[in-house]
Structure formats: structure tokens, C-alpha cells
């Protein structure tokens, strides 16, 4: 049987090295791997490029990494509820790449699905256009949005079986399953781990094949 290794939060944090691109699941800290984030805050890792839907709150979710000045670049769709992000951005110590939320998830999916990018009209006629290739297609204009991949994805699942199959309850799904497809190393933090076969296959929302390590 193909089983995935179970590791500690400290081990998980140690898989992230300074300078890496790290995807962190969650939406306003809902469905975020909070224990791994805490362990990462305890580490000396810095100069991270964090890819996340939002920068959470200053004291919650991936915002903690920003408050602790471990992030040099942030790619996100929303940073408004973490004032620290704005402070560091204005001070020039944090580069923030704001991306429309639907574009961000498609860019991550593109990397995971082996696409060279997608065409979208979101952002046309706005600052989002800047520096991007435009493609004419069927008489319409589109922005070409390129894939975003990561070295490590830190995701959170409600239930995981030992083969890595994941369940994300209700609105904790958000960016988690797609990020799991787009990183070299994928670590899932979970509330609950079960034996293989304990839960029927169709209940799982992400195949274990995407998971490298499980943190309970």
C-alpha cells in the first residue's frame, strides 16, 4: 500500500528554507495550516515568497509570518485586514503582488495542471494589465495570466487518511486542494487522521497522490 509519512510540525517547518516560494492555504485564516505556521514563526526561515489568498490578520493565519518579517514577497488578492502588510509594503521591505482572486486560483491551477497559462478578461483596463502579454482571440482581447508554482505548499485538511487522501469540510476548502497540485513538496496539516478504508473513497476531495507529508 502507498502510505504517506507522518511528521511533526517542526519537521514540516524545516522543509521550508529561506528564499523559497511557499503556498499557504486558507481564506482569512479559515482552512489555514495554523500549527505549521506557528512552527514556521519559531524558525529562523526568512526571505519567503508567500502565495496566499490574503494576508490574514496581523496575529492570525499567514499574517503572523508577515508580522515576524519572514516574508519578502507576497502574492495575494487581499491584504486589507492585516495593517502590518500595508506598513511593510509602504516601508519598501515587503513586495506585494496583488492579483484578482479568480486569476490567482487559475494561475495556481495552471501550474498544477501543466498549462502554460489562461486567457482572462478580468483586470482588462486596470493596473492588473501592467507588464502582461495581451492575446487577441475570437475577436476579443484577453490578458494572458501565467502559472504560479511553489517549492512548498502548506495546506490544511479536516480529515486525512494515511494514504494522504483529504477531506476539507465546508468553507475550509478554498485554495487548499488546488495549491496541493502546484508545489514540489506538499505538506498537509489535519485535525484528524484515519486508517485507509475507514472512510469511503468518494468522500475524499483530493487524491493522496498530491500529498508528500502529513502533520497531525
Amino acid at each position: 500500500m502507498q502510505l504517506k509519512p507522518t511528521i511533526t510540525v517542526e519537521d514540516a517547518a524545516s522543509k521550508v528554507s529561506s528564499g523559497m516560494t511557499v503556498m499557504i492555504g486558507g481564506f482569512m485564516a479559515v482552512g489555514s495550516p495554523l500549527k505549521i505556521i506557528d512552527a514556521l514563526v519559531q524558525s529562523n526561515t526568512d526571505d519567503l515568497h508567500v502565495v496566499c489568498n490574503d494576508s490574514g490578520f496581523a496575529d492570525q493565519g499567514c499574517g503572523k509570518l508577515i508580522s515576524n518579517r519572514q516574508v519578502s514577497k507576497l502574492t495575494a488578492s487581499h491584504v486589507g485586514l492585516n495593517p502590518e502588510t500595508g506598513v511593510q509594503m509602504n516601508a519598501g521591505t515587503l513586495a506585494v503582488n496583488l492579483v484578482p482572486q479568480g486569476t490567482l486560483i487559475e494561475q495556481i491551477r495552471s501550474a498544477g495542471a501543466g498549462l502554460g497559462g489562461v486567457l482572462t478578461q478580468t483586470g482588462l483596463g486596470t493596473v492588473v494589465e501592467e507588464g502582461k502579454q495581451k492575446v487577441q482571440c475570437a475577436g476579443l482581447e484577453y490578458l494572458l495570466e501565467m502559472p504560479i508554482a511553489a517549492d512548498v505548499a502548506l495546506i490544511k485538511a479536516s480529515i486525512v487518511d494515511l494514504a494522504g487522501n483529504c477531506i476539507f469540510k465546508k468553507t475550509t476548502k478554498n485554495f487548499n486542494p488546488v495549491m496541493a497540485t502546484a508545489a514540489t513538496t506538499v505538506i498537509v496539516e489535519t485535525d484528524s487522521i484515519v486508517e485507509v478504508g475507514e472512510i469511503e473513497a468518494d468522500s475524499f476531495m483530493l487524491p493522496g497522490t498530491f500529498i508528500d507529508y502529513i502533520v497531525v
Binding site: F27, M28, A29, V30, N53, D54, A76, S77, H78, V79, G80, L81, P83, G86, M89, V96, L98, P100, Q101, G102, T103, I105, E106, R109, T120, Q121, T122, G123, L124, G125, T126, V127, V128, S158, F168, K169, K170, T171, T172, K173, N174, F175, N176, P177, V178, M205
Partner: protein, 219 residues
Amino acid sequence: MSKEIVRNAIAARVAKELRPGSLVNLGIGMPTLVAKHVDDSQGILFQSENGMIGVSADLPDKDHLDNDITNAGGQPVCAVPEVSFFDSALSFAIIRGGHVDASVLGALEVDQYGNLANWIIPGKAVPGMGGAMDLVMGARTVIVAMEHCDKRGNPKVLSKCTLPLTASYVVNLIVTEKAVIRVTQDGLILEEVAKGLSVEEVQACTDAPLAVTDNLKHF
């Protein structure tokens, strides 16, 4: 009018625009109030872009809070019985694929071309666009729900937006406490004015030129 009365008046008027059986996304802030003014019998469903269709107008009971059911602000909400949950890829496929019938959201500025600015004030805080750019490009109808003027009394319905845009040519209807204004290819059409106000009073606090419909109503 108190702030609360103004906000509810706008929300109540927006609610009347929503078609039975439709799928609606309500932006954060005042648009959220729209749900309270929709009759259950209409079978209208509210989407939340973090991955949920079927947000209820009810507020969650503190004693029965489910922290796994949240809105786009991360706050716990209640779900209707036919609720569905999904990831962000499907959520934005729903939004960008034209499956949302109406997107209701606030604005800093709207102009006579239907351009919308609602995500950034340069030099001030930069919240980020979140899902707003996707919503206004993808939803079949875009309804701006906002107070007619800003805190200083300056018009927010402009001839031309001055702030960075959220999107171009996307707004279909503007609902404020003073007026209901439709955006057409020929410019803005004043369709309704609030009771007690004249067309001239609405125009006086509107930067963009307003054509008046033949069939002007009061609300």
C-alpha cells in the same frame, strides 16, 4: 436619515432587482444587508466567493457556531438547507463563467460609462481587489449599492472615474439612497428618485449628466 436607515433603504431597493431563483453575490459591507430584504419564497441563493452557495440572512447563534462555515470576511455564517460548498477554483468558475446572475457591491466611484472604482485609493491603505474584479467581469448584472455622496458630500457618480478602475464598462445599475440610475450605452438614465427629492436635487449631487426616463418613479 440615520446611517442605518440609509443603508437599509438602499439594500431594500436592491433586493427588488433580484429575480426569483437567481444566484447572487453580495459584496462585503452594506450589500450584505440585501439578504435581509429578500423573501424566502423567491428561491434566491447567495454565493460567497470563498466557496459557498446558500449563505443565509440569519446570523449564527453563538451557542451553535460552526467555524467551518464562513463568509468572504472569514466570519461564521448560517447556511440554507440546499447549501453547497466548493473550492476556490470552482467558486471563480461560477463567478467568471457567467453563472452568477447578479453581483451587488459597493463603490468609491462609478461613472457614466459604467466604469467602476472600488478597490484602491492611492496613497491610502491598499486592501487589494479580492474577488471584485472577477465578480464585475463575470456576473450577468452588476449592481452598485452605495451612498450617493462620499463623507464630504462629494458626488460618487462621476462623468469619469478618477481612481484606479476595478473594471471598465461593467456596471448596469446604481442604487443609492437618493436614486436608481441605469447605465446604458447612451449614458446614465435616472429611473427612480427617493420620495421627497426632485430630479434637480439628485442631479445637483451627481457629477455625471442624468437623462430622465419617461416613466420616472419614486421609491
